[in-house]
């Protein structure tokens, strides 16, 4: 019975959520702390930190999956919202450097050598952690509200929306690159020392940040799960399948699009906020057109329209990159591009689709998205 098949799929996903969650939350940090450094079980501080980064990316991917995978609206500007979150947290961290900076000034280093004498007004809220935290969440969401309102209300959709968001990513990149923006220009914000009094160079701080990222990812996943399982989640899928029909069922599509766009922006901001203290730097190169496109590839590879797929794709592609760039640094863009082409043409449901197809082969047809009706873009 299909109903049972869906239920089985659900309980299987819940089970794997707990298993994988416990693995990342408890087992991985323990393997970092307990085994001797030369043991094959040992996970180095470097690896742990790297996983933390990947899991932050997974939060970003979840947001894109919500708007693209479920609602069919392709946004090529998620990197911008990630950047807003990252920069807000970065500004807080920059102000925490204090006298430890290279020039020994209370101002961040880049301000000293760009001859900024006083802290610009818009930096003030980031003097304390609450300001940085709220900024990292609210700035992307507020911006997405305004941008999304203008775009969705004017019924900009499909390819046009994708192009506009790409233009947004490019514009943001240009603005953040300028020294006059007072955000460190091309060099961005870096050289952070401490977060809430914890030294960022300390492995235990990084371990804490890693655990925090796992928890944030779990919370984000549950939030998305809840949205997707609600009736509003069905409306999102309905919009993807047949937007004009949704109007005649009495719903206003643009309001739903705006809602998920803002949620996705919030998730991107959260991801950016977690990324900065773990990676230790944020520059315009990490928020422009290319990083935004990469998110699309993660989701496509993992399997769009499945939340697990977004997480899986983000982690797998980034892990693949870290391994492969060791051996073929120059070939990575080609590998990534090739991967995208292969997935889109041969495995439209991504890794998750492949796994489900294999495990369901003799049981029931998979209830995954079938290529039908209007697809994204």
């Amino acid at each position: 019975m299909p109903e049972q098949a869906v239920a089985r799929q659900d309980s299987r996903e819940t089970l794997s959520f707990y298993v994988v969650g416990a693995l990342f939350l408890i087992v991985v940090p323990l393997l970092n702390v307990l085994p001797a450094e030369d043991s094959w079980l040992h996970i180095s501080d470097f690896r742990l930190n790297q996983f933390g980064k990947f899991l932050a990316f997974a939060i970003l991917a979840l947001g894109l999956d919500l708007i693209w995978g479920y609602c069919g609206v392709l946004s090529l500007g998620q990197g911008v919202f990630f950047g807003f979150g990252a920069y807000c947290m970065g500004m807080y961290l920059s102000l925490q450097i204090g006298k430890e900076s290279v020039y020994g000034s209370e101002l961040p280093d880049f301000m000293v050598w760009t001859q900024v004498k006083e802290l610009p007004l818009f930096w003030y809220p980031f003097k304390n952690f609450i300001g940085g935290f709220l900024g990292a969440m609210l700035v992307p969401m507020l911006f997405a509200t305004i941008f999304g309102f203008l775009a969705f209300r004017s019924r900009i959709k499909g390819v046009y929306f994708a192009i506009i968001t790409q233009a947004l990513a490019f514009a943001a990149w240009l603005v953040f690159n300028r020294n006059e923006t007072r955000l460190g220009g091309t060099n961005g914000l870096t050289d952070f020392k401490q977060l809430l009094g914890f030294r960022l160079s300390d492995p235990s701080t990084q371990r804490g940040l890693y655990i925090l990222t796992v928890l944030a990812l779990a919370a984000s996943y549950m939030l998305c799960r809840w949205i997707v399982a609600s009736r509003a989640g069905n409306v999102l899928i309905a919009i993807r399948d047949s937007e004009s029909r949704v109007t005649f069922s009495g719903y206003t599509p643009w309001k739903y699009k705006l809602f998920v766009f803002v949620v996705a922006a919030g998730l991107a901001g959260l991801a950016g906020m977690l990324y900065v203290p773990q990676v230790g730097i944020i520059t315009p190169a990490q928020i422009g057109v290319l990083p935004s496109l990469e998110v699309v590839i993660w989701v496509a590879v993992g399997g769009r329209g499945t939340l697990i797929g977004a997480i899986l794709g983000a982690v797998a592609v980034n892990y693949g990159r870290s391994v492969l760039t060791n051996y073929f640094p120059e070939a990575w863009p080609f590998i990534l591009g090739g991967l995208f082409v292969v997935v889109v043409t041969m495995f439209p449901d991504g890794l998750v689709g492949m796994i489900r197809k294999l495990s369901d082969r003799k049981k029931t047809p998979s209830p995954l998205i079938k290529a039908e009706g209007s697809t994204a873009a």
């Binding site: 009736r231 509003a232 409306v235 029909r245 109007t247 069922s249 719903y251 039908e372």
Partner: protein, 254 residues
């Protein structure tokens, strides 16, 4: 006809597509609980007429009075849906990646269809019962949890009719429901529409004359954007003007 019991009254409606008048001073009215069939050659403006009523197309001039004096012209589709006009499109227009049940659940008439009420909303037992009942009416009880995209063409058409019924429309607009259906499916659709017309007014656009004979009480003939004849099937088929329009063209009268 008295004006008092009209559910819909279109007055002098003009739709102009860059000089081509899809509707040209069209006057068309429907009574409560009436099952009206609209026929006419290709390009007569039948679908455009439904588009105007449900808010998909804005007329250049004219009035569309719904119920007691509400002018639908200028209102958007969502608001017209809320007032009680349901539209079944020509091509089956359902949500292929949702289950049949979910398709119906989304369509149920509810106080608010805003984002947050919908996010929090759970189907009440009464609503579930209503959906199950509708599943029975449209003959899809056995397919409730199937992906709607996997249904046959005829079943998709019924599903969409079911979706429209659940909006509790006072007026149901149905565009060529039996195109592409088998004879048996056509007959079932006819019975379904006849049964529904006991509760609401229905306007059906159709080409299939056998089907028209099965369901119609009054037929309206549309040509070149205006109503040229209205009456029983026999009267319409005997009309010289109608014969002239269809001559050598369609399969209408025989």
């Amino acid at each position: 006809m008295t004006d008092g019991d009209l559910i819909l009254n279109c007055e002098n409606v003009v739709v102009d597509y860059d000089g081509f008048k899809a509707l040209n001073n069209c006057n068309f009215s429907v009574h409560y609980n009436e099952l009206r069939v609209v026929i006419g050659p290709n390009g007569a403006g039948k679908t455009t007429l439904l588009d105007v009523i449900c808010g998909k197309t804005n007329p250049a001039s004219g009035k569309v009075i719904f119920e007691k004096g509400v002018n639908l012209v200028g209102k958007n589709a969502e608001d017209i849906t809320k007032l009680g006009v349901g539209r079944k499109f020509q091509a089956p227009s359902i949500y292929g990646n949702l289950s049949v049940w979910q398709n119906l659940d989304l369509s149920v008439k509810r106080a608010s269809k805003g984002v947050f009420p919908t996010l929090m909303g759970r189907s009440s037992p009464a609503e579930r019962e209503r959906i199950d009942e509708t599943l029975g009416t449209i003959g899809l009880s056995d397919y409730a949890y199937d992906r709607a995209g996997s249904l046959s063409h005829g079943q998709k058409q019924w599903l969409e009719i079911g979706m429209v019924i659940l909006q509790d429309p006072l007026l149901l607009l149905v565009d060529e429901p039996v195109a592409g259906m088998s004879d048996k499916e056509t007959e079932q659709t006819g019975r379904l529409l006849t049964a529904l017309s006991e509760k609401q007014a229905i306007v059906v656009i159709e080409h299939d004359m056998d089907f028209v004979r099965q369901i119609a009480r009054i037929v309206t003939v549309l040509a070149e954007g205006t109503v040229i004849c209205e009456g029983t099937v026999e009267k319409v088929q005997a009309d010289d003007h109608v014969r002239e329009i269809y001559l050598g063209r369609a399969k209408v009268a025989h």
